[in-house]
């Protein structure tokens, strides 16, 4: 995102990517069936989200690039080594943080406040949504912001099971509204949007216009996680990088693993050292400004590995906060079987691949009144329906079918097809000092770069929230007349998914009001090294239940504009 904004402003950008070149237009396996892949496309240690997942040399482990965890900690760190990184396979869920989410400490005394307000970021959310293409609707709900008029793409029609859940949830007082996802439901209005985004910049307007025109709307088939050869969904490789390239201001070097930011005698950044992976050789790139956007923990790793006499504890780490207050999202789920959906007439339910509807957090009042034993909210992501059968189709239904095999098993599969649903909670984690990463003094990766060691401890807020999720979801399934198939836990530590598993790790390079209490200012600029910025999830101060990618992009856009202003003023 930063590369796009900076290149559009005429800044010459060198983009260093730790993985290989990757082109979704020619590489995406759009229509391949599971039967066309090894192991029916099942997930393996090599491809954890399945054979067709748009992740290269990544997943929970990267070949030759380990990380470690403190004893008793099972932090899971998802990485990928490809141009565009994790934006190629992500869930595309694009929810804005709301006014409460920027000032959590002021509201309930826990965690920390951001050095900006919702109103500060709202215009950049508008720009980011307009640029990326986000479908959804404006519902005017508490702490669930509306977008400005003319920004959102139309929300897709709800599917049968989404409407059925909606009816049930109405009765339970849980709102079910159109989800916001970075997927085009209609072609972008390239003329209007490019003028809106770049009113006084002809080059930026033209490259943005051309890029938008090259994207097709969703054709309501195939899973987004594979990537999208028609560019209907957001990947930085199809949306950010092509227009940046078209400005003529972007140079990209792939297979370039950055290990250290270099500085001069005054403590200003002068560039980076990186490993040319193909030649296994160290290289240096010089630049007047360095922007790290390597993913939250990877950026913290680079800073911690950039030690010097001026910065003995790592670059820009005078506060001692680099690597600290890492957060993930609280995740817990329940699946069930809904008899009402059995033998339902067959019809197209793939839609935009991911969810069309979701449930935003709805118990703000209960929480404020002290009726809940956890401080922050969660939203519900749910799914089901008549999807393409994949690996594991009808596995484990023995308890439902009482051991059926033969003709009866075949009939039972036809009966149960499309009748399973799952509900997943995605909740806010409150940052705490026990969740951090540091350099493991004993381990380096195959490039000789010291690796991260993770520490983690949930608080009761997260554990209790996970229990509340499971109980709520079981209640919804039962209210729908369904059978709960998951074990609903009574111990929060069993209900909650592993830290890192939701792949929403943020923080570690947080922004703040003061240099002694944060690494960056509100424009993602280092307090100590003014020509050093961090524009990934690292600057996050809190981690609201809203999936972070949209906010990462909006903050990066705002910060990039500030960077350009500073360049023009000559302060960098």
């Amino acid at each position: 995102m930063a590369a796009y904004v900076l290149a559009c402003h005429g800044v010459r950008v060198l983009l260093l990517e730790a993985g290989r070149d990757y082109d979704p237009v020619s590489e995406t396996p759009m229509f391949q069936l599971p039967a066309d892949a090894p192991l029916r496309a099942a997930g393996t240690a090599d491809k954890p989200f399945g054979f067709y997942d748009a992740t290269v040399d990544g997943g929970w482990r990267v070949p030759g690039e380990p990380y470690t965890s403190a004893e008793g900690v099972n932090f899971m760190w998802w990485r990928s080594r490809m141009l565009g990184g994790r934006t190629n396979h992500w869930g595309r869920i694009s929810l804005r943080m709301g006014p409460y989410d920027f000032k959590p400490r002021s509201r309930d005394g826990l965690g920390f406040d951001w050095p900006m307000t919702y109103e500060d970021l709202a215009p950049w959310y508008d720009r980011t949504e307009a640029f990326a293409g986000v479908y959804g609707s404006n519902e005017g709900l508490e702490n669930t912001p509306d977008s400005s008029d003319g920004i959102l793409q139309p929300a897709p029609a709800p599917r049968a099971y989404e409407r059925l859940a909606g009816k049930t949830c109405d009765g339970l007082g849980i709102p079910v509204i159109p989800a916001h996802l970075a997927i085009l439901t209609e072609p972008q209005d390239a003329d209007r949007l490019s003028r809106m985004l770049w009113p006084n910049n002809e080059t930026a307007r033209r490259v943005t216009y051309d890029s938008m025109r090259s994207r097709a709307a969703c054709y309501w088939a195939t899973p987004c996680g594979r990537g999208c050869s028609i560019k209907a969904n957001f990947q930085s490789t199809t949306v950010c990088l092509p227009p940046a390239q078209a400005t003529g201001n972007l140079t990209t070097i792939t297979d370039a693993m950055v290990r250290e930011v270099t500085i001069d005698a005054r403590g200003r950044a002068t560039g980076v050292h990186y490993i040319d992976k193909k030649l296994r050789a160290d290289r240096h790139a010089s630049a007047p400004v360095v922007v790290l956007a390597a993913s939250a923990c990877e950026s913290a790793r680079i800073l911690l590995n950039s030690r010097s006499s001026l910065f003995p504890d790592g670059l820009a780490n005078g506060s001692g906060l680099v690597g600290k207050y890492v957060m993930d999202t609280v995740g817990a789920g329940v699946s069930g079987q809904i008899p009402a959906l059995e033998y339902l007439p067959r019809h197209a339910e793939e839609g935009a691949s991911a969810m069309h509807m979701y449930m935003p957090w709805w118990l703000y009042g209960e929480q404020a009144a002290g009726h809940l034993d956890f401080a922050r909210g969660y939203h519900i992501e749910f799914g089901g329906g008549q999807r393409m059968p994949g690996y594991g189709a009808f596995s484990g239904i023995e308890p439902l079918t009482e051991g059926a095999y033969g003709q009866r098993f075949k009939e039972e599969c036809r009966r149960y097809y499309g009748s399973f649903m799952y509900f997943d909670g995605r909740g806010e984690m409150i940052p705490n000092e026990d969740c951090y990463c540091e350099i493991d003094p004993e381990v380096v990766d195959q490039w000789g770069i010291p690796v991260l060691r993770f520490h983690w401890k949930w608080s009761d807020h997260e554990l209790n929230q996970a229990l509340h999720m499971q109980q709520t979801f079981a209640g919804i399934i039962e209210e729908m007349g369904g059978r709960v198939l998951s074990t609903v836990q009574t111990d929060g530590a069993r209900a909650i998914l592993a830290p890192g598993q939701i792949i929403h790790e943020v923080g570690g390079v947080r922004m703040g009001e003061r240099p002694d209490d944060s690494v960056l200012n509100q424009y993602s600029q280092s307090w100590e090294v003014p020509n050093l910025f961090v524009m990934d999830g690292g600057p996050f101060v809190s981690n609201a239940d809203k999936n972070p990618t949209l906010s990462i992009m909006a903050i990066a856009w705002r910060s990039s504009e500030y960077l350009v202003d500073q360049l023009r003023q000559g302060t960098l």
Binding site: S26, A45, G403
Partner: protein, 245 residues
């Protein structure tokens, strides 16, 4: 507990090169696939051209996919963590013997037999898929190899003991008599517990093998994996059935 509709399915760890005969068959099958993908992309291009005025992807996609037929994706390293997804290969040896495969094929057909709507599981290669599965060099697959090999031996011993022949030689009623004792872990007698777990695993794998083919999807009536001009939500008869009309 399985999340039936979720994407990530866990299977586990790692290893080498394909059996000549099987590998060849596989490669031939995949050429057909690549051609199919090119065709589908061409269709999508047409569908999009209807909805958009600009020169949206289309032709480029078709070219990209058809390029696959002549050598796959040049960017992919072709390693287990960066496989060529357009022209995939099985990169490990298949280990089951002819006899084991014959027994497995017979069992797969008992689990999912042919009927008026679709073929039996063996005709769609369920036993070959299970061979591919148990031969794979990942931890969970290795565990399945032991369980399934052991179960196949047990099946023949049990068949001989009861009916004087290998499982493949039994009548359908005789096969059912054996399977009835092992088809449900919860109800299986103590002496059949391990066999019941074997059967359950084969049923799961057979089910995956069968329903993930085009024929299996047609049997279920799956509607999708092809470009649609619009998404209109559920048809009226569905809404009526659900009381949402």
């Amino acid at each position: 507990m399985p999340d039936h509709d979720r994407e990530p399915e866990r299977a586990p760890d790692h290893g080498r090169e394909p059996d000549a005969a099987e590998g060849l068959t596989r490669r031939r099958a995949l050429q057909v696939l690549a051609a199919g993908a090119a065709g589908a992309a061409a269709i999508s291009a047409g569908a999009c051209a209807d909805g958009t005025e600009s020169g949206v992807p289309g032709a480029g996609d078709a070219t990209g996919f058809s390029g696959a037929t002549s050598g796959g994706n040049p960017r992919a390293a072709g390693t287990p963590t960066d496989p060529d997804m357009v022209s995939p290969i099985i990169w490990w040896d298949l280990v089951l013997t002819e006899d084991e495969l014959a027994t497995l094929a017979a069992l797969c057909d008992v689990i999912i037999p042919e009927d008026e709507h679709s073929p039996g599981a063996a005709a769609l290669g369920a036993h070959a898929f299970i061979d591919e599965w148990v031969s794979a060099p990942y931890d969970g697959n290795r565990e399945d190899l032991t369980r399934i090999r052991g179960g196949l031996v047990w099946l023949d011993i049990e068949s001989s003991g009861r009916f004087g022949g290998r499982f493949t030689e039994l009548t359908l009623d005789q096969k059912h008599a054996v399977c009835d004792d092992i088809c449900w872990v919860e109800n299986a007698a103590p002496e059949y517990q391990s066999a019941a777990r074997f059967f359950d695993r084969v049923r799961d794998l057979t089910s995956t093998a069968f329903w993930t083919t085009a024929e299996g999807m047609a049997d279920l009536g799956f509607v999708g994996n092809r470009p649609m001009p619009s998404f209109d939500g559920p048809p009226p008869e569905v809404l009526e059935r659900l009381g949402l009309a």
